[in-house]
Symmetry: D2
Subunit: 413 residues, 4 copies
C-alpha cells in the first residue's frame, strides 16, 4: 500500500515535470552549476506534484530541502510520500490540525534554513518570532498576494528583518498564475467535488482582482451568468464594461447559486448574507485563507450542520434552507480530495521564477537590505521568453527604426 502510494506520487511528479519545460531546463542547468550548494532551504508550499518538481530542482542545484504544507488540507499524500523518497525532508499530510500545521512549520525552521520559500506568509512570520534564526536567513521568496500584503505591512511597521522577493507581484507570475491558473483550477475543483452544472448557473464572484477576474471570465466561458461583487470603483466599472453584473453582497446573496470568494479580505460573506441566500446555494473560497466566508457565523445561525459528502458540508438554516460549504472554506482548488491545484503548465512559470529567485538570493541575499523586492526584471523576462519558446510562440522583432521612433518626440502629424 505504502509502495503503491509512492508509485502513484512518482508518476504524478514525472507527469508534472514532463509539462514544465522551463523549470526542467533550469533543473538541468542547476544540476551542472550547483548554485545552491551547501544551502539549506525551508519551504511552506502546497505539497503537490508541481511543487515536488520545484523541490527536485533545488536539490539538483545542490540544496538541502525541508518542506511543509502552507494549508492544512492541500497536501497530496502520495506526492508527499514520493518526495520524501527523493531526498527532501517532508513534514506534511492532508488534514492537519492547526497545531500539527504549526508544529510542521517549526520543524522546517528547525533545519536552520538559509533561504525560505513561502506561500501565504506563515513561515516567514513565524521565523520572525525566532530572533536568533532570523538573523541567519539570507532571504525569502513569497508566492501569493496575501503573503505579499502581509510582508508589506511588516515592512511598513518596520518589523521585517530579511529581504523578500515578492514573486507574486512579478508580471510573469501574477498575470498568469493568479488570473489563468486559479480560474481553471477553481472550476475544475468545483465541478469535480460537486458534479454541479456551471452553465445556466448564477455564479457570484466576490473580488475582481487578478484571481477574481480570471474566475469570472472562465465561469462565463462555461456558460454561467456571473455576478461580481467589488469594493473598488475602478474594478467595479471594469467588471461592468466587461459585461458582468455588479451588485453589492446584500443583493448578490439573494440571486446566487454558487458563491466564490477571491478577495484576500475577511468575512466577505456573513450572517446577513447567509440568511437571504437561496436553498442549496454552494459556497467556496479561492483566496489564500479560510476567513473570507464567516463559517463560525454560519454555524451559529444554523440549526443543523453535517458532512454529507467528501469535501461538502451541509448547513441547515432555521428558515429551512440548506447551504453547502466546500472544503471547509479553504482554497477550493487545492483543499479538496479531487482538487488538483493549478494546471501544471502555469506552475512552470511561477516555479521557474521561484527557482531563479532562490538562486538570486543565494548570490545576493547577504548584500540586500531587509525589504520587499520585485523579481529582477531580467529573471521575469527570461522565464516568460523561455516559456514562449517552449510553446512555439514567436515574437515580432522591433526594427531599428521602431526603436528609434519610440525614443523620439519630434515626429508628429
Amino acid at each position: 500500500m505504502k509502495r503503491d502510494k509512492t508509485t502513484v506520487g512518482r508518476q504524478m511528479i514525472q507527469w508534472a515535470k514532463l509539462h514544465m519545460p522551463v523549470l526542467s531546463q533550469i533543473m538541468s542547468h542547476f544540476s551542472r552549476t550547483k548554485p545552491l550548494r551547501g544551502l539549506q532551504i525551508g519551504a511552506a508550499l502546497h505539497v503537490e506534484a508541481k511543487t515536488a518538481v520545484l523541490m527536485k530542482t533545488l536539490i539538483e542545484g545542490g540544496a538541502k530541502v525541508a518542506i511543509t504544507g502552507c494549508n492544512p488540507l492541500s497536501t497530496k499524500d502520495e506526492v508527499a510520500t514520493a518526495l520524501a523518497g527523493e531526498g527532501a525532508q517532508v513534514f506534511a499530510k492532508r488534514g492537519e490540525s492547526k497545531q500539527e500545521y504549526y508544529k510542521n512549520l517549526n520543524r522546517v525552521l528547525a533545519t536552520k534554513p538559509d533561504i525560505l520559500i513561502d506561500d501565504g506568509g506563515d513561515l516567514i512570520v513565524l521565523a520572525h518570532k525566532k530572533p536568533k534564526l532570523i538573523t541567519q536567513i539570507l532571504g525569502a521568496s513569497e508566492e501569493t498576494t496575501t503573503g505579499v500584503i502581509r510582508l508589506k505591512a511588516m515592512e511598513r511597521d518596520r518589523v521585517l528583518r530579511i529581504p523578500v522577493i515578492a514573486v507574486n507581484d512579478s508580471p510573469g507570475k501574477r498575470y498568469f498564475d493568479n488570473r489563468f491558473g486559479t480560474a481553471e483550477s477553481t472550476l475544475q475543483a468545483l465541478m469535480s467535488i460537486t458534479n454541479t452544472q456551471i452553465s445556466g448557473k448564477k455564479v457570484v464572484v466576490i473580488g475582481f482582482g487578478f484571481v477574481g477576474r480570471g474566475i469570472a471570465s472562465r465561469a462565463r466561458g462555461l456558460g454561467a451568468r456571473v455576478v461580481v461583487v467589488e469594493s473598488d470603483p475602478v474594478k467595479a466599472l471594469e467588471a461592468t464594461f466587461e459585461g458582468f453584473e455588479v451588485l453589492p453582497m446584500r443583493n448578490a446573496a439573494r440571486v446566487g447559486d454558487i458563491f466564490i470568494t477571491a478577495t484576500g479580505s475577511y468575512h466577505v460573506i456573513r450572517k446577513e448574507h447567509f440568511r437571504i441566500m437561496k436553498d442549496k446555494a454552494i459556497l467556496c473560497n479561492a483566496g489564500h485563507f479560510n476567513v473570507e466566508i464567516d463559517i463560525g457565523g454560519l454555524a451559529q445561525i444554523s440549526k443543523k450542520r453535517r458532512k454529507i459528502m467528501e469535501d461538502v458540508e451541509e448547513f441547515t438554516l432555521r428558515n429551512g434552507r440548506r447551504l453547502y460549504l466546500l472544503t471547509e472554506g479553504r482554497l477550493v482548488n487545492l483543499a479538496g480530495r479531487r482538487s488538483l491545484g493549478h494546471p501544471i503548465e502555469i506552475m512552470d512559470l511561477s516555479f521557474s521564477l521561484q527557482a531563479l529567485s532562490v538562486e538570486y538570493l543565494a548570490k545576493y541575499g547577504s548584500q540586500m537590505e531587509p525589504g520587499v523586492y520585485n523579481v529582477p526584471p531580467e529573471i521575469d523576462r527570461k522565464v516568460v521568453t523561455l516559456k514562449l519558446k517552449a510553446m512555439g510562440v514567436e515574437l515580432e522583432p522591433l526594427t531599428p527604426e521602431q526603436q528609434e521612433y519610440q525614443r523620439s518626440w519630434e515626429m508628429g502629424t
Copy 2:
C-alpha cells in the same frame, strides 16, 4: 470497507437526487400512481449516481429493475454497490472485459424485461438476437445519437422488431445533454485526469454536431484556441462563422495539443495523423464508442506503449514523439476514475424524459408498431417547462392578439 463504499455511493445518489428537481417530482408522482406496477425493466446505462436516481424512480413506480453498464469503464463501483442495496439488480463493475460486458448484458436480458432502456444500442441489438424474448418486449428507449443511428439503420433494414423511443432526438435532450452536458463533463474529465492547462492550448475538436459544438464552445470559453474538423459543409461553415478555425485532419494533426473526437464515426484519427502530431499531444474521445481513435493503428506504429498514470497511456512513436491516450479511447467524461459524467442538473432533463418515456411505453407500447419514435412532444414540453420552473425562469406569455397574428397572412407592410 464494503460498508464505506455503500455509504459513499448512497451519499452520491442523495446528492444527485437533491439536484434533480424534475425527476424527484416524477418520482413522487410515480410513488403514488405506480404506473409501472408489475413490469420488469432492463437497462444498460452508465452506472453512476444520476442513473441510480432514475432507477429508484422506476422502482418507486412499481417496476422491478435490472441494470448493467453500457461501457466497460464507466461504472462507479460505489454507486453500483449502493444501488444494489436499494432493490435493483446490478450487473456492473468498472473495468469489465468485453466478455464480462456482454455477459452482463445477457444477465439483464435473462430477467425477461418488458421494457428496455439503452445507451448506445448494445442491449437492444442483443435482444434482437433472442427471437423469443424480443416478441415479449413492449418497447425500448434509447439515450444516445449513436444508438439512434443504429436503430434507424435497423429500421431501414427492416429488422427492428419493437417500438423504440429516441429520447436522444428530443429537443429536451439533444439541445441540452449533448451540447451542454458533454461539454462540461469532457472538460472536467480532461482537467481532472491530466491537470493540464486548457487556456492557451490548441484544442482540436473533431465533429461539430451537438456534442462537438458544445465542447468547442466551452473549450474556447476556457481560453483554448479551438480547431474544428468536419466533413459536412453546413457545419463547417457554421464553425467558421462562429470563429473557429476549420481544418482537415492532416493539417489539424500538426498543430493540436489536445484532440477530442466527437463524431460517432470510425477511425477519425489514424496512423497518418499520429505520425505528424506534436510531441506530448493528448488524445481523448467524447463519442459513444472507442473506435473514433484508431488505437490499434497507434499501437502498431509505436515502439513503446505503457500506462504512465491512472487513465493515461503513453505511446512512443518511432520518431521519438510521445502521444498520450486517455481512458483507453473510451468516452473520457465517464470512463476515467476522476470522470464524473454529465453535470447532475442536465441529467435531470434527460432522465425525466426517460422516466416518462418508459411510462408511455408501459401504457401504449403494446399498441405501437415497431419503429423509431420521437418522444411525444407533450412529454418534452412538460419536462422542459418543469425544469424552467424549478430554475425560477419565467416565460413571456403570448397575448391573444399575438396568437391570432401568427395564424394570419393578410397583415403586411
Copy 3:
C-alpha cells in the same frame, strides 16, 4: 449631383460584387448559359448594393428585371439610381409612404412577371389579388421567416396558387443570414445611429430564434449584459444554459437600456412595458415588420413626441421619462440612413441561393404544384460548398470505412 449619386451607387455595387465570390461565379455561368432568357422577373427586396448584384446576375442570365423595395425605409437611393442605369426597372426610393409603397409593388406586377422574388411576402400576397396575373406566374421565392410563415398560412388556408421556394428555410440561408448577418448588421446600425456604447449596457433581446440568438450572442461579444425574453420553453432553456438572463417582458422592461425585438410577432413591447422603462431607454426592431413595438400605443401614452436626430424619435412619457425609438420601428439594420444591411459576404450565400432557386423555377416551375417548397438540397449544398472553397476552408473527407460504418448497426462495444 445626379451623376455623383450614380457614381457612388456604382462603386457600392462593385465593392459588393468583389466580396460575393459565389454569386459572381453564378453570374459568369449565367452570362454563358442564359438560363433566364425571355423571362420577366419581379422582385420586392431591400434595394441596396448586394441586392443590385443579384439583379445584375439575373439580367446576365437573360431576364428582364423589375424591382421595388420591400420596406419603405430600406432603399439606398444611390444604389437605386445606379441599378436603373444597368438595365433594371427600379421603382423605389427611401422614405416611401404606405401608398407609394403599394403603388410600387403594383408597378412591378404590372410588368407581368413570370417569377417573383419576395422578402416578407407583400408582393406574393398582392399578386394573389390579381386573378389573371397569378395564373401566369411560374413560381416565386421568399427570403424571410416572416414571409414563409405567411405563405405557409396561405397554403394551410388553401389560397396559395403558385409554387414558392422558401429560401429562408434552407440551412444555407437561415443558419447564416438570419443568425450571423442580422446580428452584425443590427449592431452596426445601432452603433452608427446612436454612437451609444454597447459594453456595460443591459441589452434586452426579445425572441431567441435564429435572429435573436445571433443578436444576443454578438451583443454579449461586445460586452453587453444580455437579457432574453422568450415564449417557447425549449428556447428559453437554451438561452439560460448559454448564460443569458431570461426574463418576462414585465421584468425585462424595468432593467433594459436597449431593447431589440426579433420575434416576427406583434406588439411584443406594449404600453404596460413602456411605462416602467428607464429614462433614455432605446427601442429598435430587427424583425421584418414594424409591428413588434406598439408605436401607436407609445404615442398615446406620451405627452411629447419629436424627431431629435436622424432616425431617432424621442417620446416623453407623462412620468417624464424619455424613450428613443430608432428608424420608426422598422428593421433597424436596413432602415436607418447609416444602416448598411447585412454584411456583403453573408448575402453572397443568400442571394446565390436566390439566383439558383430562380433558375430552378425557370426550369421546373411549370410542373410544380402550388405549395411551399424547400430549396433543393443539392442547390444548398452547392452554394455552401462553393462558399467554403472561396474562403479557403477545407472539409475532412469521409473514408470508405467511415461511410460503411455509418450505414451499419452491427458493430457495437
Copy 4:
C-alpha cells in the same frame, strides 16, 4: 444648407450631452462656480460631438476656448459649425492638408492660451517652439498614449517646460477609453466603411496594449478568428493564454483578411508584408498617427492605386493582388466619414477627467514644476464613482473589520 448643418451639429451635441451624465454634472457645477473665469484655453482634439460637450463645459466654467483638430480627417464639419455658434473659436474642417493642419494649430496658439488640451502632443510640441508663449502657459493635459510617450521623451530630454497632466495614464481613462472605447469605435467604423463581415474573418491585431487587447477581444466577440502580433513577451503570453493565436508579422501577413494596427509604433506593416498578403486584404489603423502602415512603401510596390469608394483606396500589387487601405491609414474610428469615434458614454469618463484636470491646472498650475503628472487620484476616483452612480452600479462597502484586516499581518492560518 449652412443652417441645416448647424442644426444637425447641434442635435448631435445635444444627443451626446444627454449620454454624458458625469460631464453634465461638472458642467452644472462649473456654471455656478466659474473656476476658469478669465482663462483662455487652447485645444487640439477630434472635433466631434463629445468634444463639443467638453468645450461647452469649459465655456460654462468661464473660459474662452479655441479649438482645432488633432487629425486632418477626424473633424465632423456639422459639429465644428454648431460649436462655433456656441461661442468657441473653431479652426478645423475635415480633410485638411498638412499645411492647413499646422496653420490651425498656430491659430489656436495665437489666442495666447493659458492652458492647453492636447491629443497626440502636436499642440504642446508646437507651443514649445514659441519661447515667449511657452513661459506664459500654466499647464496642459494630454489625452493619448502616443502624446504621453512623446511628453515623457521631452521630459527625459529635459526640454519640457510646463506641467502636463497625463490624462491618458489615469486608470479612469486608460482602462476604459483605450480598451473599451477604441474597440467598439474601430469595429463600428470598419463595418460602416466596408460593410464587410467580421464573423469568420481572420483579423490580425498588431499590438496588444490596452487598445489592441480591446479590439482583439471585441473582434472575437463578433466571431472573428483573431491573430495577435506583439513584440513584448509578457503581452504575447497573455494573448496566448487568452486564446489568441500569436504570430510574427511575416506569418500573420499570409493569413489575415483584415489588419488593424494599434502599436503607437512605426511601419509595423511594411513592404515585405504587403507582398505576401492575400488578395483583398483590408488594412486599417487604430493608433494615433498614420505611420503604423508604411503607405509610401505600399504605393511604391503597387502598379496601380486608386480611390474606389469613400474612405477606401485600392492598391494593386505587381502580383495582381489588391489591398484595401481605409481612411488613408489614419485612425479608422475617427477619420472615416461614417466613423463616429468612441461611444459617447465612454467619453463621459475621459472628458470629465479632462475638465477636472483643467480646473486643477487653473488652480495649481502656476505652482507646479515642469513635468508629466498623473491625474490626481481623488479626481480619478471621483469621476469613476460618479459614473458608477449614474449607471446605477453599487459598490460593496468595506466593514471596519475588513479595513483593519488589510492593515494587519499577524493573522495567519
